[in-house]
C-alpha cells in the first residue's frame, strides 16, 4: 500500500510495458513477467487486483471506480468553501469577506493554473534532475483527451482530483496571515507558491519517479498529502506569520471570532470533504478505499474527543472552537497515514495530533508570534505528527511487504528514518523557497497592507464590500 497516487503513475508506465508484451504470444506473458524484477511484479499484482487487465485489449473505464473518483473530486472541492467558512468565522467582522475570498481566490487562480502548468509540473516525467516534472503533452491537458489510466479511470478524473489538492493547499496558508494581507499580493504569492513549492514537492512524493516516492523499499508514506499538503502549507504559514509580523494590536487587544456558527459549519464540511480527500486518494473503489474512509472517520473523532477532554480539564468548559480544531487536527494527522494504519492507529494518531496541536498553540501564545488562525499550529504540527507517528502503527502486512522488498528485514526505525527524511526535506524546501517568495512579493506588489487599511478591514479596503448587511440600515 504505497501512496496510491504514486502507485497510479507507476502503473501507467507498467501498462505501456504490458502493451508491448502483448505482441508476444499471450501464453508466454506469465513467463516473460518472471524476468521482471521481483518488486515490479509485486507492484503489478497490487495494481491489477482484479486481474482484468491481463488479457484485455484496452484498459477500459470501470464505472464504479470512476463514479467514486468523480464523487471524491467534488467532495475535495467542497472542502474549499468549507475552509472559507471555517476561517471566515474566526476573524473579526470587518475581515470576513477578505478571509473567505482567500479560499475562493485559490479556487479561481489555481483552478486556472493547474490544468495549464500545475499538472504537467507535478506528474510529468522528472526534469532538472528530478526537481519537477514536465511533459508538454500535459500542457493544458492536451494529451490526455483519450487516456484511460490503468486504474480504470479517465486521466481527466485523476488530473481534476489532484487539482483540488493543489487548490486547497495554498488556501490553508492564508490562515497564518489572515486580516493583514493585500489581495493582489496574496493572489500573486499563491500562484508562484503553487508552481515553485507545491508542484515540486508533489512531484517528489507522488510521481512514480519522484525521489521521496522511491526512498526505502516502499517509499516515504504519504497517502493523501501529509507532507505535500499539510506540512508544506503549515511551514509556509509559520514563515509567513513571522515574516509579515503580527496584526496591529496583537496580542494585547482581543480579536474575537465574528461567527463561530459559520466556523462549525465549515469544520463539518471539511470533515465530510475529507472522505473524498483520503478515501479518494486510494484511486480505487475497493478495500483500500474502505480502510482509508474508516480510519479517517475514527481519527477525526478521536482528535476532537481528545481536544474536548483537554479543555474540560484545563478550563472546565469544552469550547466549540476546540472541538472544531480537534476535528481538523485528527484529520490532518490521518491524512498521510490513511493507507497504512488500522483503527487503533487512527485513534492514537487522532489523540496525539490533538495533544501536540494543543501544545503548539499554547507555545505560540507564549512566544507571541501571530499565526492568526493557527495554520501552522494545526496543519504544520498535525502533519508532522501524522507523518512521523504513523510509522509505529503500520499494519503488519505492509511491513512484511517492505521487508520482502528490502531483501529480508525492514524495521519500524528504518521506515521512521525514511519518513523523517521526507518531512525534513519538505520543511527545508518549503520554508526557504517561501521566504524568498514572500520577500519578492512584499518588495514588488506589496503583501502587508497599511495600518489604515488593516484597521478599516479587508472587506472594505480590499474588496469595497461589507460581509454583513446588518450594520448598514439601507
Amino acid at each position: 500500500m504505497t501512496s496510491p497516487c504514486l502507485r497510479l503513475k507507476k502503473s501507467l508506465q507498467l501498462c505501456v510495458i504490458i502493451k508491448k508484451l502483448r505482441l508476444i504470444n499471450q501464453l508466454t506473458i506469465g513467463i516473460m513477467l518472471k524476468k521482471f524484477s521481483f518488486p515490479l511484479l509485486l507492484l503489478a499484482a497490487a495494481v491489477l487486483t482484479g486481474g482484468t487487465a491481463w488479457g484485455a485489449e484496452e484498459v477500459v473505464t470501470d464505472s464504479g471506480t470512476t463514479s467514486w473518483m468523480l464523487t471524491s473530486t467534488a467532495l475535495v472541492l467542497l472542502m474549499v468553501p468549507g475552509l472559507a467558512m471555517f476561517y471566515g468565522g474566526l476573524v473579526r467582522t470587518k475581515n470576513v469577506i477578505g478571509t473567505m475570498m482567500h479560499s475562493f481566490a485559490a479556487m479561481v487562480i489555481i483552478g486556472v493554473l493547474w490544468p495549464t502548468l500545475g499538472y504537467a509540473l507535478s506528474f510529468g516525467p522528472g526534469i532538472l534532475g528530478g526537481l519537477v516534472g514536465w511533459d508538454s503533452k500535459y500542457f493544458l491537458l492536451q494529451g490526455i483527451d483519450d487516456t484511460i489510466m490503468s486504474t480504470h479511470i479517465p486521466e481527466y478524473v485523476f488530473a481534476m482530483f489532484q487539482g483540488k489538492f493543489a487548490i486547497i493547499t495554498p488556501a490553508l496558508i492564508a490562515g497564518a496571515f489572515a486580516e493583514r494581507v493585500n489581495f493582489k499580493g496574496y493572489a500573486i504569492f499563491i500562484a508562484l507558491w503553487s508552481i515553485i513549492v507545491y508542484s515540486p514537492i508533489c512531484h517528489w512524493v507522488w510521481a512514480s519517479d519522484g525521489f521521496l516516492f522511491n526512498l526505502g523499499p516502499k517509499g516515504a508514506i504519504d497517502f493523501a498529502g501529509g507532507t505535500v499538503v499539510h506540512i508544506s502549507s503549515g511551514v509556509t504559514a509559520l514563515v509567513a506569520a513571522l515574516y509579515l509580523g503580527a496584526r496591529r494590536g496583537y496580542p494585547k487587544n482581543v480579536m474575537h471570532p465574528n461567527n463561530l456558527v459559520m466556523t462549525l459549519m465549515g469544520a463539518g464540511l471539511l470533515w465530510v470533504g475529507w472522505f473524498g480527500f483520503n478515501a479518494g486518494s486510494s484511486i480505487a473503489s475497493n478495500l483500500d478505499t474502505a480502510r482509508a474512509l474508516t480510519v479517517t472517520q475514527i481519527a477525526a473523532a478521536a482528535g476532537a474527543f481528545t481536544w474536548m477532554v483537554i479543555e474540560m480539564f484545563q478550563h472546565g468548559k469544552a469550547t466549540s472552537l476546540g472541538v472544531a480544531s480537534g476535528i481538523l487536527a485528527g484529520l490532518v494527522a490521518i491524512t498521510p497515514a490513511a493507507g497504512v494504519v488500522q483503527p487503533v492507529g487512527a485513534l492514537a494518531l487522532g489523540a496525539l495530533a490533538a495533544i501536540f496541536c494543543y501544545l503548539a498553540i499554547m507555545l505560540k501564545n507564549r512566544l507571541g508570534y501571530d499565526d492568526s488562525l493557527d495554520a501552522f499550529g494545526v496543519h504544520g504540527v498535525g502533519g508532522i505528527v501524522g507523518a512521523l507517528a504513523l510509522t509505529f502503527f503500520i499494519r503488519p502486512s505492509w511491513m512484511a511487504d517492505a521487508a520482502a522488498l528490502a531483501g529480508g528485514s525492514w524495521t519500524v526505525w528504518q521506515q521512521l528514518g525514511v519518513q523523517a527524511t521526507a518531512v525534513g526535506i519538505t520543511i527545508a524546501y518549503a520554508s526557504v523557497i517561501s521566504l524568498i517568495l514572500l520577500f519578492l512579493v512584499e518588495k514588488t506588489v506589496g503583501l502587508r497592507i497599511s495600518e489604515d487599511e488593516e484597521m478599516s478591514g479587508l472587506d472594505h479596503s480590499m474588496h469595497g464590500e461589507q460581509g454583513y448587511g446588518l450594520i448598514n440600515l439601507n
Binding site: 484597521m455 450594520i471 439601507n474
Partner: protein, 113 residues
C-alpha cells in the same frame, strides 16, 4: 458630570480605546451605528458603484466627572483623526448629566461614575 458622545470611524476604534485606557478612562459603552455626515462612501455592487447614504460608524458613550472632560475629549480627537484630519472623522457631543446611579449599590452622583 457630563455625558460625552463621540461618533467616530470604525477603523479608529482600537486606537481611541487604547489611548483612553492609557489615560485611565476605562468605563465606556460602544455601539455600531450608521449615519450620515458630509462623507460619501463608495461601495461596489456587481460592477456598479453606489454611494450609500448611510455609513457605518462607531458611537462611544462615556460618562465622566467634570475634571475628566478635557482629557477625554483631547484623547478622542487626537486618536480618531486620520492623519491631519479628513471629512468623516466624526463628531463629539457633550451633554450635561443630571444623575448617575450604580444599580448594584444605589450610589448616586460622581462617585457612581
Amino acid at each position: 458630570m457630563k455625558l460625552i458622545t463621540a461618533i467616530i470611524q470604525p477603523d479608529r476604534l482600537d486606537h481611541v480605546r487604547e489611548a483612553l485606557i492609557q489615560a485611565d478612562i476605562t468605563r465606556i459603552t460602544v455601539s455600531r451605528v450608521t449615519g450620515h455626515g458630509r462623507q460619501e462612501d463608495i461601495e461596489i455592487y456587481r460592477g456598479q458603484r453606489i454611494a450609500p447614504n448611510l455609513i457605518p460608524k462607531v458611537r462611544l458613550d462615556i460618562a465622566v466627572n467634570d475634571e475628566f472632560v478635557n482629557i477625554t475629549v483631547d484623547t478622542i480627537i487626537e486618536k480618531a483623526k486620520h492623519g491631519t484630519g479628513e471629512v468623516g472623522d466624526g463628531k463629539i457631543f457633550i451633554t450635561p448629566l443630571e444623575e448617575c446611579i450604580r444599580i448594584r449599590t444605589r450610589e448616586k452622583g460622581g462617585k457612581a461614575i
